[in-house]
C-alpha cells in the first residue's frame, strides 16, 4: 500500500475527515452504556422516572448522531476509495501505454490485464475497508479503555492486564495466519493453472496417453490446497473461540472484583453494567482488526504487483528536445546495427547495414528466428539497438519523437490486430482525419472493398472485440487498409499476406505497388515468389545478412538463397 502513496495523497484529507467521523461514531456508541448506567444507578435506584425518560431521549439523540456520522463517513469513504481506484487504474493503464514492447513483454499481456483490473480492485477494496473498519477498531479500543478507566480506574487494571494477552493472541493469529492465507491463495492459483492447462491441452494429453499423470498432478494440487485450507481453518477455529473465552472469563473476574467494590460502596451496579459492555466492545474491535489483517496479504500482494508496473520506467523515451526532419523523404539507413533481447546469450541481429530509398522495395527473407521481424521493430523504435544506429533522412531515430517517427510509417504486422468498433473506425486508426473517399480508396487498394460492401452495414459494419466476426483474410486486408490510408513515406509489411488466397494476394500486390510507388517499402516475406521483383533482397541467417542483392544476383552467389528457392520451387528453378 505504501508504494502507492502518491495515489493516496489526494485523499488524505478525506481519510482524516472519515477518521474523525468514525471517532465520533465510536464516541456515540460508547456513550450509550454510560447513559444506561445512569438510568440504573440514578433512575432505578432512586425511582426517578423523569430522569429515566430524559436520559432515554438523550440516548436516542446520541444514537441518531452515531448513525449520521456513520452514513456520512460511509459516503465519503466510498467516494474517496472509488476515486482512488479510478486514478490508480488510469495511472497503471497510462504507464502501460508508455511501455516499450520489451517492458510490456516482461510482464506479458495476461498479467498486465489482471493487474489493471483485479489488482486495482483489491487495493481499492482494502483502502475502503481500512478507512471504515481498521480505523474503527483502534479508536474503539482506545475509547473503550478510556471510558473504563474513567468509570473505575482500579477495576480497569484487570482489563489493562488482559489486553497484552489479547494482543499476543491476535498477533499470533496474524503471524501464523498471514502466511497461511498467502499460501492458500498460491495453492488455489496452482490448481487453476493445472486445470487450465489440462483443458487447453486435452488432445495432447490424450494423444500421449497421459490422463493418469495429469489426474495425479491435479490430485497433488488438490491435496495441497485441501491441506492448506484445513490448516487455515483450524487456526481460525482454535484461536477465535479462545479469544471469546478470554473475553468471557474477563467478565467473570470483573464481576467478582466489582462485587467487592460495590459491597464496599466504591462502585455502583450501573457502572458495572457499562463497564462490562465497554470491555466487550473493546475486545470485539480488536477481533475485527485481526480479521482485516487476515485480508491484508492479498491486497498487499496486489499493491506490490501494481507498484512493479508503476515503477517500471519505459525503456524507450523521447529525447528532451526532439529533432524535426527538415526534408522528409523517407530514406532509411541501418548502420552496423546489433541488437539482443534482454537476457539472451546471442544477439538476434548482428551488424545489419542497408539503405532503403523512396521508390524502392526492400525484401527480407530468412529462417524462423533469423531476426526479420526484429528489423522492422527496430525501425519502429520498439527496441533500441545495442550498437550501431538507424537513421531516417540522415537523423538518428533516437533523436526524433516516437510520435513523429511512427507517424511516417505504415506498419502491417504478421498477425492482424483490429479493435472493436466499425470497419471504418478501424481503417481510420491509420489517419483520424481521413476523408470518406480516402477511407474507401484505401479499402479498395487493400482488396477489402468487395467484402465490405457485401456486408449489410458496409463501412459502418461492426467489428467485434479481437475482430472475431471477420475471417483471417478479411482482418489482414483491413489491417493493410489501415496502413494505406495514412499514405505513409515508409511501409513496413511483416509477412502480411499469409491469410490471403493467391488471386487476392496477386491483385493486392499489384495495386499496392502502384499506391506505394514513391514510398520506401520494407517487406518481410516467406515465399520467394512474392519478392522476386524487389530492388533489394536481404537474406538473413541467424541474425546476420548473408546475402544482399536482386533475385538474379542472389541466385548466382548466395547459397542460403539458393536453398530457399530450391525448397519452394524444386531443384530445377535454381539451375
Amino acid at each position: 500500500m505504501w508504494k502507492l502513496r502518491q495515489y493516496l495523497r489526494p485523499y488524505l484529507l478525506t481519510v482524516a475527515v472519515v477518521s474523525g467521523l468514525v471517532f465520533l461514531e465510536v464516541l456515540a456508541t460508547l456513550r450509550l452504556p454510560d447513559l444506561m448506567s445512569r438510568i440504573v444507578d440514578e433512575g432505578i435506584a432512586r425511582g426517578n422516572l423523569g430522569l429515566i425518560w430524559r436520559t432515554g431521549a438523550v440516548m436516542l439523540l446520541v444514537a441518531l448522531a452515531g448513525v449520521a456520522c456513520s452514513l456520512v463517513g460511509s459516503y465519503l469513504a466510498s467516494r474517496a476509495s472509488g476515486a482512488f481506484g479510478r486514478d490508480l487504474r488510469l495511472g497503471v493503464f497510462s504507464r502501460v501505454g508508455e511501455f516499450a514492447p520489451r517492458d510490456f513483454d516482461q510482464f506479458g499481456a495476461a498479467s498486465l490485464i489482471t493487474r489493471t483490473t483485479n489488482d486495482v480492485q483489491q487495493v481499492q477494496q482494502m483502502f475502503h475497508m481500512s478507512m471504515r473498519m481498521a480505523m474503527r477498531a483502534p479508536l474503539m479500543a482506545v475509547g473503550g479503555v478510556l471510558m473504563v478507566v474513567r468509570k473505575d480506574a482500579q477495576l480497569a487494571l484487570i482489563l489493562l492486564a488482559l489486553i497484552p494477552i489479547m494482543a499476543a493472541l491476535v498477533a499470533l493469529t496474524i503471524a501464523r495466519g498471514v502466511p497461511l492465507f498467502k499460501g492458500l491463495q498460491e495453492k488455489l492459483d496452482r490448481l487453476n493453472l493445472v486445470v487450465r492447462e489440462q483443458l487447453m491441452g486435452v488432445r495432447v494429453i490424450r494423444a500421449f496417453n497421459r490422463e493418469g499423470d495429469e489426474q495425479a498432478r491435479f490430485s497433488r494440487a488438490n491435496r495441497d490446497l485441501t491441506q492448506t485450507a484445513l490448516k487455515v481453518s483450524r487456526l481460525m477455529i482454535t484461536l477465535m473461540p479462545l479469544l471469546g473465552l478470554l473475553i468471557n472469563l474477563t467478565n467473570i473476574v470483573i464481576i467478582w472484583f466489582a462485587a467487592r467494590r460495590i459491597d464496599a460502596g466504591l462502585m455502583q451496579v450501573g457502572n458495572l453494567m457499562a463497564f462490562l459492555q465497554y470491555t466487550m466492545q473493546t475486545f470485539m474491535a480488536v477481533m475485527m482488526l485481526s480479521m482485516i489483517f487476515v485480508n491484508l496479504p492479498r491486497a498487499s500482494a496486489s499493491a506490490q504487483r501494481l507498484a512493479e508496473v508503476l515503477d517500471t520506467e519505459p525503456s524507450i523515451k523521447d529525447p528532451l528536445q526532439p529533432k524535426q526532419v527538415e526534408q522528409a523523404r523517407g530514406v532509411v539507413c541501418f548502420d552496423q546495427v546489433t541488437f539482443s533481447y534482454p537476457g539472451a546469450e546471442k544477439p538476434v541481429l548482428s551488424e545489419i547495414s542497408f539503405t532503403a530509398r523512396p521508390g524502392e522495395v526492400i525484401a527480407i527473407i530468412g529462417g524462423t528466428g533469423s531476426g526479420k521481424s526484429t528489423i522492422l521493430e527496430l525501425l519502429l523504435r520498439f527496441h533500441d539497438p545495442d550498437s550501431g544506429r538507424i537513421t531516417l533522412d540522415g537523423v538518428d531515430i533516437r533523436e526524433l519523437s516516437q510520435r513523429d517517427l511512427r507517424a511516417r510509417i505504415g506498419y502491417v504486422p504478421q498477425q492482424a490486430v483490429l479493435f472493436s468498433g466499425t470497419i471504418e473506425s478501424n481503417i481510420r486508426h491509420g489517419k483520424g482525419e481521413a476523408t470518406d473517399p480516402e477511407v474507401r480508396e484505401a479499402a479498395r487498394i487493400a482488396q477489402a472493398l468487395e467484402f465490405i460492401t457485401e456486408r449489410e452495414a458496409g463501412f459502418a459494419g461492426e467489428v467485434a472485440q479481437g475482430g472475431t466476426n471477420l475471417s483471417g483474410g478479411q482482418k489482414q486486408r483491413l489491417s493493410i487498409a489501415r496502413a494505406l490510408v495514412r499514405r505513409p513515406q515508409i511501409y513496413l509489411l511483416d509477412d502480411s499476406f499469409s491469410a490471403l488466397d493467391y488471386r487476392t494476394d496477386a491483385r493486392l500486390r499489384q495495386e499496392l505497388a502502384q499506391a506505394a510507388k514513391e514510398a520506401t517499402v520494407i517487406v518481410v516475406a516467406q515465399r520467394v515468389s512474392t519478392i522476386m521483383h524487389a530492388q533489394q533482397i536481404l537474406v538473413l541467417e541467424a541474425g546476420r545478412i548473408v546475402g544482399q542483392g536482386t533475385h538474379e544476383e542472389l541466385l548466382q552467389e548466395c547459397s542460403v538463397y539458393q536453398e530457399i528457392v530450391a525448397s519452394q520451387f524444386g531443384k530445377e528453378a535454381v539451375s
Binding site: V40, A63, G66, G85, M129, R196, G201, P241, Y341, V417
Partner: protein
C-alpha cells in the same frame, strides 16, 4: 452456457463487509430441491459426524443463550446489595451467591466455547473432505469426457466450475449451514428467554423487527441494481483493457495512445460513478442495522428502567434483556444474507453437477486388445461422420495405407482434414463404417494403447508451465537428458533453446512472449520425435515455420520415419511433394488420391490448386 470466468464475483475468501452477500446480486438455482438433495448425498457418509455437529451446535447455543440470564442474576444480587447499603437495611452483597453464580457462568462459557470448537472442527473436516472428493470426482470426470465436450464448451466455463463453483460450495457448507442453524436456534432460544423475563419488553423488541427487515430488503435491492450495473461496466472496461494490451504494438505503431487512453478514461469514470454508489448503498446497511439495534437498546433501557423502578423487573433481568436484544438482532440480518449465500451455493453446486452429468466417452469394449509390434497399417472403410447428426463432414470415405507410407492431405480450409485425425485417434467415433489399425477395428483396441501409436503435432501448440526439458519429455516420461537434446537437435530447436538465458531449464509460461509461435511448434515437434510413435500426424504443424526450416524438419522426419506411417496435413504444396500419396479432400470427400505426378496428369482439383500457386509465384 458460456459465462466468462472473470465476470462473476467470487463470494467468500475473506470478502469484506459485514454479513456476506447482503446487497450483492444473487444467482438463482434452477432446481433448488433436487440439487440440495444431491449435495446432501455427498454428506451422507458423514452423517454421524454431522449429527454430532448438530448436537454441539444446539448445546453450544443453549449455553450462549443461558449465560446472559445467569449474569443477570449476579447483577440482581449486586443491585440488591447496593440498595441494601443505600437504604441501610441489607447486609451487603451475598458473596456466597455471587460465587455460585459466577461458577455457573464460567461453566456456561466453557461449555459454549467447547461445543463451538467441536462443531467447527468437525464441520471443517467434513466440508474440506467433501470438497476434496468433489474436485477429484470432477477431475476424473474431465478425463472421461469426450473431445466433443471440450470442443463445444468454453474453457473459462469449465474452469470456473472446477474452481470457483466448488469453492463457493465449500465456503457455504462450512460457514453458512452452521450459521443458519445457529441463527434459528438463537432466534427461538432468545425469544423464549425474553418471554420468560418480560412479555411486554419482548413485544417492544419484536417491534423493531420489521424495521430491520425493511432495511435489509429495500436497500439490498437498490444496491443489487448498482452492483449489477457495475458488473456490466467492469466487463466493458476489462474488454477494453484486454483489447488495447493485446494490440499494444499496433497502438504504438499508429500513435493511438491518446485515443485509447481517452476511451479508457470514459469507461473508467463511468465505473467510478457507479462503483462508489454501489459501495455506499451497500455500506449503509450495516450502520442502519446497528442503529436499529441501538434504538432497541434505548427502548429497553427506558422501558426496563421504568419497570425496574416500579419493581416489576429486576435490574439483572434488564441487563440480560439488553444482551438478548443484541443477540436477537444479529441472526435476523444474518438470515437475510445466509439465504443469499445459500442460494448462490446451490446454484454453484448445480453447475458442478451439470458437469458431472455430461455424457462420457464410451468405455473400452470388453475384451479390447493391446497391439504388440504394431506395424502402422491403416484402413478406412466406408467411413461417414459428422459433428452434428445431420451434417456429415466425411461421407463414405475409403482409404488404405500401408506401413511406412507418407500420406499428404490437402484441400481447402474446413474440408474435413482435421476430422480425419480426430477419427484416427478416436477423439471422435465414426457414425458408420469402420477404421482399422493393423487389421483390427480401432474400437476393439484399448484407447490408451491406440493413442500411443500416434505421435502428433497440432496446429495449436500446447506447452504447459514447466521447463523446456519437461515439455519435450512429455511424450516419453523418464527420457534421459541426452535423448532430449537429440530430439531437440532433430527438430532444429536445440540452437534456439541454448540462446535462452536458462537454456533447457527455461520455464515456459502461459504468456511466454519471448518464444514465437514457430519456436513453440518446433518444441512440439521435438516432443513428438522423442515419443517415437508408430504413426506420425502433422496437422499443419509447420505452418508458422518458414519453408527452409520446414524442409530441414521434413528431412529429419523422413529419416526418423523410415518404416513408419505418417500423415501430413499442410496448406503449402511444396512441403508435400515428398509424399507417397496425396489425399485431396474437398467437401467432406476424398476427391482425388495419388502421387503428385499422377494428380497433375489427372488435371483435376489438385492440379488447379497447384497451378494457382505456381502461377501466382511467377506472376
Amino acid at each position: 452456457m458460456s459465462r466468462p470466468a472473470p465476470g462473476r464475483p467470487t463470494p467468500g475468501r475473506g470478502g469484506g463487509f459485514g454479513p456476506r452477500g447482503i446487497g450483492r446480486p444473487v444467482e438463482k438455482p434452477k432446481d433448488f430441491k433436487g440439487t440440495v438433495k444431491r449435495l446432501a448425498g455427498y454428506l451422507k457418509p458423514h452423517k454421524w459426524r454431522l449429527l454430532l455437529v448438530l448436537v454441539a451446535v444446539v448445546a453450544g447455543n443453549v449455553f450462549a443463550i443461558l449465560s446472559p440470564r445467569i449474569m443477570g442474576q449476579a447483577t440482581t444480587i449486586l443491585f440488591a446489595g447496593m440498595m441494601g447499603r443505600l437504604q441501610g437495611t441489607g447486609s451487603g452483597v451475598d458473596f456466597a451467591a455471587i460465587g455460585r453464580i459466577l461458577l455457573f457462568l464460567g461453566a456456561a462459557y466453557a461449555g459454549n466455547t467447547l461445543f463451538n470448537y467441536i462443531q467447527q472442527i468437525i464441520m471443517v473436516t467434513v466440508t474440506q473432505n467433501t470438497v476434496y472428493q468433489l474436485r477429484e470426482e470432477v477431475s476424473r470426470k474431465l478425463s472421461r469426457l469426450p473431445l466433443k465436450y471440450y470442443d463445444s464448451t468454453a474453457h473459462g466455463d469449465t474452469l470456473s466450475r472446477v474452481t470457483n463453483d466448488v469453492d463457493t460450495v465449500s465456503q457455504s457448507l462450512q460457514q453458512s449451514v452452521l450459521q443458519l442453524i445457529t441463527s434459528v436456534i438463537t432466534i427461538v432460544g432468545v425469544t423464549v428467554m425474553m418471554l420468560t423475563i418480560s412479555p411486554v419488553l419482548t413485544l417492544l423488541t419484536l417491534g423493531m423487527l420489521p424495521l430491520s427487515i425493511a432495511i435489509s430488503t429495500v436497500i439490498a435491492k437498490r444496491s443489487q441494481q448498482y452492483f449489477m450495473r457495475q458488473q456490466n461496466i467492469l466487463g466493458q472496461l476489462n474488454g477494453h483493457v484486454e483489447e488495447v494490451y493485446t494490440g499494444h504494438r499496433i497502438v504504438k505503431a499508429y500513435g493511438l495512445e491518446q485515443e485509447v487512453a481517452d476511451a479508457f478514461s470514459r469507461v473508467n469514470h463511468e465505473l467510478y460513478e457507479n462503483g462508489w454508489k454501489a459501495q455506499f448503498v451497500a455500506g449503509t446497511i450495516m450502520p442502519l442495522i446497528r442503529f436499529v439495534g441501538n434504538l432497541g437498546y434505548v427502548v429497553i433501557a427506558v422501558a426496563g428502567g421504568l419497570f425496574a423502578a416500579r419493581g416489576a423487573i429486576t435490574v439483572g433481568n434488564v441487563q440480560a434483556f439488553m444482551q438478548y436484544s443484541r443477540q436477537f438482532g444479529m441472526p435476523i440480518t444474518e438470515l437475510a444474507s445466509i439465504a443469499n449465500v445459500l442460494q448462490s451455493a446451490v446454484a454453484a453446486a448445480e453447475r458442478v453437477f451439470e458437469l458431472l452429468d455430461e455424457e462420457e466417452e464410451p468405455a473400452d469394449a470388453p475384451g479390447a486388445r493391446t497391439l504388440a509390434d504394431a506395424r502402422g497399417e491403416i484402413a478406412l472403410r466406408d467411413v461417414t461422420f459428422g459433428y452434428q447428426p445431420d451434417q456429415a463432414v466425411l461421407k463414405h470415405v475409403n482409404l488404405e495405407v500401408s506401413p511406412g507410407q507418407l500420406i499428404a492431405i490437402v484441400g481447402p480450409t474446413g474440408a474435413g482434414k482435421t476430422t480425419l485425425v480426430n477419427l484416427l485417434m478416436r477423439f471422435y467415433d465414426v457414425d458408420s463404417g469402420a477404421i482399422y489399425f493393423d487389421g483390427h477395428d480401432i474400437r476393439e483396441i484399448k484407447r490408451g494403447n491406440l493413442r500411443t501409436m500416434f505421435g502428433m503435432v497440432l496446429q495449436d501448440t500446447w506447452l504447459f508451465e514447466g521447463t523446456i526439458k519437461e515439455n519435450i519429455a512429455y511424450g516419453k516420461p523418464g527420457a534421459t537428458d541426452e535423448e532430449i537434446y537429440q530430439a531437440a537437435r532433430a527438430a532444429y530447436v536445440d540452437h534456439f533453446i541454448r540462446t535462452l538465458p536458462q537454456g533447457y531449464d527455461t520455464i515456459l509460461r502461459g504468456d511466454a512472449s519471448g518464444i514465437s509461435q514457430g519456436q513453440r511448434q518446433l518444441l512440439t515437434i521435438a516432443r513428438a520425435i522423442l515419443a517415437d510413435p508408430v504413426v506420425l500426424i502433422l496437422d499443419e504443424a509447420t505452418s508458422s515455420v518458414d519453408t527452409r526450416t520446414e524442409r530441414l524438419i521434413q528431412k529429419a522426419m523422413a529419416r526418423l520415419m523410415e518404416g513408419r506411417t505418417s500423415f501430413v496435413i499442410a496448406h503449402r504444396l511444396s512441403t508435400i511433394l515428398d509424399a507417397d500419396r496425396i489425399l485431396v479432400i474437398n467437401d467432406g470427400q476424398i476427391v482425388e488420391q495419388g502421387t503428385h505426378e499422377e494428380l497433375m496428369a489427372l488435371g483435376g482439383f489438385y492440379a488447379e490448386l497447384y497451378n494457382s500457386q505456381f502461377v501466382a509465384a511467377t506472376a
